[in-house]
């Protein structure tokens, strides 16, 4: 079997970022020190999560319009990967905060916002699994998914921009401070780190979707 081109691109990007992310030149900033390199690993988790949740809600709307269960499968698997990335982003952020802010959890608006978003998406999975009827489950799940996506706006994008925070970027921007990151880092982030980690998530999601299709086919034959 030949791997699709985008999977090969993803592998190359991940290998490049594993090496260049650690030994490449970065600006020297007080407090951040070498942890500025987390930009290549922690930040792509959040960017990836936003993309996966967006794909998820698009397929939920598609399901509601078409009634085809295959759209619902795409929605739920992308929400799964988005949740994994959100959890990874939160955990890596906590590890980083322990050594820069002094403690892993300081009730920072960004941490609380991300945690609320995480819980809302966990509720999506719990809600789905509480129903046995596949059509009912898909329909209620899709409607809830739209609500969950709408809740991303205040929790991830709006409230963290309004409140003061310890997070790099400070007021106005929740994560990226244009003054902290220079072109040496941007050239690794936008073409390599961000698409690399996102493609890995897409790869995982497509595998889960294919596996689910196989399971359904097997059930159909049995």
């Amino acid at each position: 079997m030949r791997l699709s081109w985008w999977k090969i691109v993803c592998i190359l990007q991940l290998l490049i970022i594993a090496v260049a992310g650690l030994i490449g030149d970065v600006p020297a900033k007080p407090i951040l020190n070498e942890t500025i390199r987390n930009y290549y690993f922690h930040v792509p988790m959040w960017f990836g999560m936003m993309i996966f949740f967006t794909v998820s809600v698009v397929y939920s709307v598609k399901y509601l319009r078409s009634g085809q269960l295959k759209h619902d499968t795409v929605a739920v698997e992308f929400a799964n990967v988005g949740l994994v990335y959100c959890l990874m982003g939160l955990l890596t952020g906590m590890i980083w905060a322990k050594y820069t802010w002094g403690k892993p959890w300081s009730n920072d608006p960004k941490q609380i916002g991300a945690a609320i978003a995480l819980l809302i998406y966990f509720a999506y999975l719990v809600l789905r699994n509480s129903m046995m009827d596949p059509d009912k489950r898909a329909k209620i799940g899709a409607v809830y998914n739209i609500f969950a996506f709408a809740m991303l706006f205040p929790t991830i994008w709006i409230i963290p921009r309004l409140l003061e925070s310890l997070h790099p970027g400070g007021m106005g921007n929740p994560a990226l401070n244009p003054g902290d990151v220079d072109s040496r880092m941007r050239i690794l982030f936008y073409p390599v780190a961000f698409p690399g980690w996102t493609l890995l998530g897409v790869w995982i999601a497509t595998l889960s979707i294919r596996l689910k299709k196989l399971e359904e086919k097997k059930l159909h034959h049995a």
């Binding site: 594993a18 030994i23 020297a28 007080p30 020190n33 790869w203």
Partner: protein
């Protein structure tokens, strides 16, 4: 005469003490601390090797999973 001698002595001891003064740790504000020393030791490459191993392992696992599912799809 005595004054000159004293000055000379002070200068002499200062000269001796200079290397000791140089040993005092740098103030936190002097320079931003980066892992330059770690690079000089070459030990950062240990971390690079570890992370590269993990990424390579994950990638191989993904490829294996992908192939397995493709095979199942062909059988089904």
């Amino acid at each position: 005469m005595r004054n000159t001698l004293n000055t000379a002595l002070v200068a002499f001891f200062l000269l001796i003490a200079a290397p000791l003064l140089a040993q005092t740790p740098m103030g936190a504000d002097d320079a931003v601390q980066m892992a330059d020393g770690l690079y000089a030791n070459g030990k950062i490459y240990v971390v690079v090797a570890v992370i590269l191993t993990i990424v390579a392992g994950l990638v191989l696992y993904m490829i294996r999973l992908d192939r397995k599912i493709t095979r199942l799809e062909k059988e089904a």
